[in-house]
Symmetry: C2
Subunit: 434 residues, 2 copies
């Protein structure tokens, strides 16, 4: 028995083994920094909800309370409101997905779908294959269930099929069990790249023949800036894909509504896991969103969001061209993020305190890897600040980066280049960076 506490926590010895993977993420700590008004935050992933007319939400709420108030205030079902699931089918049809209303499980944001799928599949030590880099809070969830994450290389066209084959072979040769491939194939977070259509087909085929489930996370697909987004991987493979969707980016995160579209047997287990975790997602927010989708021009509203984010993407790419022409970065065709590569000898994490001092914030690349990679990478978000602020943020960032490079050059004239810088105290930056 380990019933022994310490001076700081009398319950120290009581926690489950899985809590070893729970630590404050770099992105979480940055929320505090980013909230100071003088800082241009290119760090968070907050959608620009002010582009959603509040009257539309109010009108939907009023109709719900008038027509179905008692039901909307009551417990719902663990699978979610049927009327909302009908509308979700319409949303997914825009990306080529055909499914039935019974195939959907509504969740408390797609984040909770991610948590529930992980709870259903991961034994301690099981392997999750994931893009390198990957969405930071997905990595947190996998760790919290003691999964081992093995990153698969990607380039400007997304996951590299040959790297996936190699990863599968290597992990299995080590005697480990792969449970699923986690991917954000369209306008990925954080890389801002999109898996090509040919690769989608190839990766689905690799996973099918290898008996590996695909967890396709698609929060950004409808926020495309040019032409149309590629169809979802789920559009070509039903039995081997769990698809996650959300209303956080096409409507608003405050509703906390997302969904999983899963093969029959998995979906049944997801419903049970959802009921155990929260009994049901919020009936009230489900009713409001269902009413909004049935009575508003929601496609037009998504078009408005696309326009807002396209303008901000353009502002960011132009500013990068103008202020940091020597660096390289991705050119997202949709979504929220640009992924920037710094010179090899720069460390984005240890540079962050200096950036915040210069009143600009970003997310260091290491946050998006489970294996310590990404040291000279950073994620820049163009979703929340206005174009002018984005440009000013990039200008400030260029000052910081150029200052660091200068320092390194000076340093390298008198001493060898330091390969490993001291770890910064990322776990609580606001206290140190005032």
């Amino acid at each position: 028995m380990t019933n022994h506490g310490n001076n700081l926590d009398p319950w120290y010895g009581h926690y489950a083994d899985r809590t070893a993977g729970l630590a404050a993420s770099e992105v979480r700590a940055l929320f505090a920094v980013a909230s100071r008004p003088e800082v241009v935050s290119l760090a968070g992933g907050m959608p620009f909800v002010s582009a959603l007319p509040k009257e539309l939400v109010k009108a939907a709420f009023d109709r719900v309370m008038c027509d179905q108030g008692a039901v909307a205030l009551q417990y719902g079902s663990g699978q979610g409101l049927p009327a909302l699931r009908e509308h979700i089918l319409e949303v997914m049809a825009l990306e080529g997905i055909r499914a039935g209303v019974d195939d959907i499980v509504v969740t408390t944001g797609s984040q909770h779908a991610l948590e529930l799928v992980t709870k259903l599949f991961i034994n301690p030590g099981d392997v999750v294959l994931a893009e390198g880099p990957s969405y930071v809070t997905a990595l947190t969830v996998f760790k919290s269930f003691q999964a081992e994450v093995s990153h698969v290389a990607m380039d400007d066209h997304g996951l590299i099929p040959e790297s996936l084959r190699e990863s599968i072979a290597r992990v299995r040769a080590a005697g480990k069990t792969i449970k699923f491939l986690y991917t954000v194939p369209t306008f990925s977070n954080p890389a801002g790249v999109t898996l090509s259509w040919e690769r989608r087909l190839e990766i689905v085929e690799i996973c099918r023949t290898s008996g590996i489930l695909v967890l396709e996370d698609n929060p950004y697909g409808l926020l495309y800036f040019e032409g149309q987004p590629p169809h979802a991987m789920r559009s070509v493979e039903e039995d081997g894909v769990i698809y996650l969707g959300t209303f956080s980016k096409t409507l608003a995160p405050g509703f906390r509504l997302g969904w999983a579209l899963a093969p029959h047997a998995i979906r049944e287990k997801l419903i049970l896991a959802n009921e155990a975790a929260v009994l049901s997602p919020s009936s009230l927010t489900q009713h409001i969103v269902a009413e909004y989708l049935s009575s508003s021009d929601w496609r037009g509203q998504i078009g408005t969001f696309r326009g807002v984010y396209r303008e901000r993407r353009d502002a960011m790419l132009t500013a990068l061209d103008d202020y940091l022409p020597d660096l390289s970065w991705t050119h997202p065709a949709g979504g929220f993020y640009v992924w920037v590569s710094l010179p090899e000898n720069l460390d984005s994490k240890s540079m962050l305190p200096r950036a915040v001092k210069e009143l600009v914030a970003y997310t260091p690349g290491t946050a998006f890897y489970a294996d310590g990679n990404g040291r000279n990478k950073m994620r820049l978000s163009f979703c929340y600040p206005t174009p002018d602020f984005i440009r000013e943020g990039i200008r400030r960032l260029s000052t910081v980066i150029n200052g660091e490079l200068e320092l390194l050059t000076t340093f390298s004239q008198t001493a060898p280049l330091p390969v490993q810088r001291p770890a910064s105290s990322m776990s609580n930056p606001p206290a140190n960076l005032g």
Copy 2:
């Protein structure tokens, strides 16, 4: 590797070991039955939300959208809205709890707090001590993290301290690790009994000296029918109690808002686990509830609920006296439930199809035990149906019970009494019981 599926589920061999504990609960199946209008359902635990004036919710929503729309539609923090946490302190003060606003973590209903606490503490094989009988979906959560539940006996005054001591000694003698005691001390679900003040002190002391955390779940405390409810166990012990509260019964479940009040180090881990699971609880519903609490007579509204449920409790106890005078049952001083003991040779689970045929539903006692106990018990809910329906439901129930007893008497005159009846197909009653 176990990458082998079967004809029904190609991913059969992929699930985590913990999914072995996931199965459709008896209460879940009953939702389908209870929703048919001709059935008097004494089975569910749905609060009577029609007693909440919709105008109050509408007014709160309007003010939120007018004053703080963009914030309410955005992501929130993993700990929850500070303004809401301030009000939660006022709510808990009614039951003698003193705490700080930083000690609270807002969750997606108190159900999610239960899930998160279990995720934080339970390794497979760890033991949870729990009242016998216990809240059914708590048992589901514990099983879903592979906890072993050891029931502690209770009587009309709640948990029996001597039984708790014996349980602790027995479990530890078997070399097992006890992680916490789960209890609903006030107006318990399903037993409808309340832990006396003397026993609260004694049980807190037993747990303190034994190094066992107390998980105090208190959804019903403010729904008292006589005098005042006893103060919470948390009011006398800070470091050893995690207290769970909810707005589902004092306001409405559709908001999906509850909370955990936990010692410092545990609370920090709860916030991280909450962020991993859902990023944040719904900002929108948090803002609405905070606004409602700051501008409405919420204490008066809880008084209205008390009046509604008191009348229904009285209707149920009177009807039991009138129609089933030979049985015994608990006399709840608050909450939603009466726990009925049938004659030893009756089996409430196998009797249920007959009851539904007679258009009355209840929850069989075995649902509330992890160990197969409760065969001749049943939970009756008085929260949702009107007094007239409650009386009619009990009348129908008496017909069923008397019919069963008659059958058994006839049977026992020609053959020995069957001790084990064939298992009924509880997992899907509606299809069989039309």
